[in-house]
């Protein structure tokens, strides 16, 4: 397209510099306010709007595929009202328990973060506690996860496994022995017997 409006088209702020994400909970917060103005208290918009004070942002070349994968294979739960879809890219926040991880497009210019897929290496591992790690593992395997360490009992009193996602980010999923016992599972008497 080329016309007299080109100069203004070029001046669209998010073309000049992709916007930093707004506070991701703004939509949930504003909707909650709207609903309370309307006098509708039957719809609870969200259980917990606040993000933790620290969380990781993972970069993907195809963050849409990553979002689908993390939900389907690793059973992370997207905070749907936080999603910021910019058409050509996407920001999403995923929750596990009281933790959050953010995913977005690999961005070499502004945030200078890359996908392990383009680097050939990664420097981070996400540490995740889940309920019933055995079931979590079975589900991930059934969904075709790339398992980099099968389920093992660790000497420090946790059962864990590791998997690599579709672009090479590493995930460590674990459950504490106390939690395994609490759900009626069995744990080894002496887990330090050889495995670490």
């Amino acid at each position: 397209m080329s016309d007299d409006f080109d100069p203004l088209r070029a001046l669209r702020p998010d073309r000049v510099r992709p916007d930093d994400p707004a506070e991701p909970t703004i939509f949930a917060r504003e909707k909650e306010r709207l609903m309370s103005t309307i006098g509708d208290t039957t719809q609870q918009v969200s259980r917990e709007l606040r993000m933790p004070d620290i969380y990781a942002r993972l970069a993907y070349e195809d963050e849409r595929a990553a979002l689908a994968y993390l939900v389907r294979v690793f059973q992370l739960a997207e905070i749907r009202e936080a999603r910021t879809d910019m058409g050509d890219s996407l920001l999403a926040w995923l929750r596990v328990g009281d933790g959050v991880v953010m995913i977005g497009h690999a961005n070499a210019e502004i945030h200078r973060i890359h996908s392990p897929h383009s680097l050939g290496n990664t420097t981070v591992q996400m540490m995740v506690y889940v309920h019933d790690v055995d079931a979590h593992f079975a589900h991930a395997v059934a969904e075709g996860a790339d398992i980099t360490m099968p389920v093992q009992d660790a000497f420090y009193g946790e059962r864990r496994y590791e998997a690599t996602d579709l672009e090479g980010h590493r995930w460590h999923f674990a459950e504490r022995f106390a939690d395994i016992k609490a759900r009626g599972g069995t744990v080894p008497d002496n887990p330090s017997g050889g495995q670490a």
Partner: protein
């Protein structure tokens, strides 16, 4: 349920106010980006909820013949933005300075930028846009940044189609004159 038109949702919200929340779910992200483009994140955050609260108050007057309420919401947002002209001018000038510092090779408008230092060109454009009469600027931005059709703009600003055409034509002439005057300075 998801195929229910905005018009139907608005009609239902007259009886059941809570139904109006669906409009927020459908349109808040797009409207928010529009507000951010014009006045920046801080003002946009303050305005987003207001757009929908005003819409809620006015819902009884919604024209049920328009299934999609997005132009109507654009209109409410545009009306609220009129109180934020200073933020808007600041924002477009800041964007112009930023664009001016970028390499000319990245310019989508090479054909003029090559004839003039980008650092000089873009502030001129920003000035020209900021100086347009507000009704021309509103129509122009809805057309160029938001990519609304003439019909949608007419619906948003609640003016006849011919008025949208003439406003855009006047804005187009202003930008064309700007181009010519920059050319003469070379």
């Amino acid at each position: 349920m998801t195929s229910e038109s905005d018009a139907a949702v608005i009609r239902a919200s007259l009886e059941e106010p809570g139904r109006f929340g669906a409009l927020f779910d459908r349109h808040a992200t797009v409207l928010f980006r529009y507000l951010v483009r014009r006045v920046g994140v801080d003002d946009a955050e303050a305005l987003l909820g207001e757009v929908f609260r005003v819409g809620f108050e006015k819902r009884a007057t919604y024209d049920g013949a328009r299934p999609n309420a997005r132009p109507w919401l654009y209109g409410i947002a545009t009306h609220l933005l009129a109180r934020h002209r200073r933020s808007e001018a600041r924002r477009i000038h800041a964007t112009a300075r930023l664009l001016g510092r970028q390499a000319p090779a990245e310019d989508p408008t090479d054909h003029i930028a090559t004839t003039l230092d980008a650092a000089v060109l873009w502030p001129h454009v920003a000035d020209a846009v900021a100086r347009l009469p507000i009704e021309e600027r509103d129509a122009l931005i809805l057309y160029v940044w938001e990519e609304l059709s003439y019909e949608e703009i007419a619906s948003a600003l609640d003016v006849p189609l011919g008025t949208v055409r003439s406003r855009l034509n006047r804005a187009r002439m202003s930008l064309r004159e700007l181009r010519a005057s920059i050319g003469r300075q070379q």
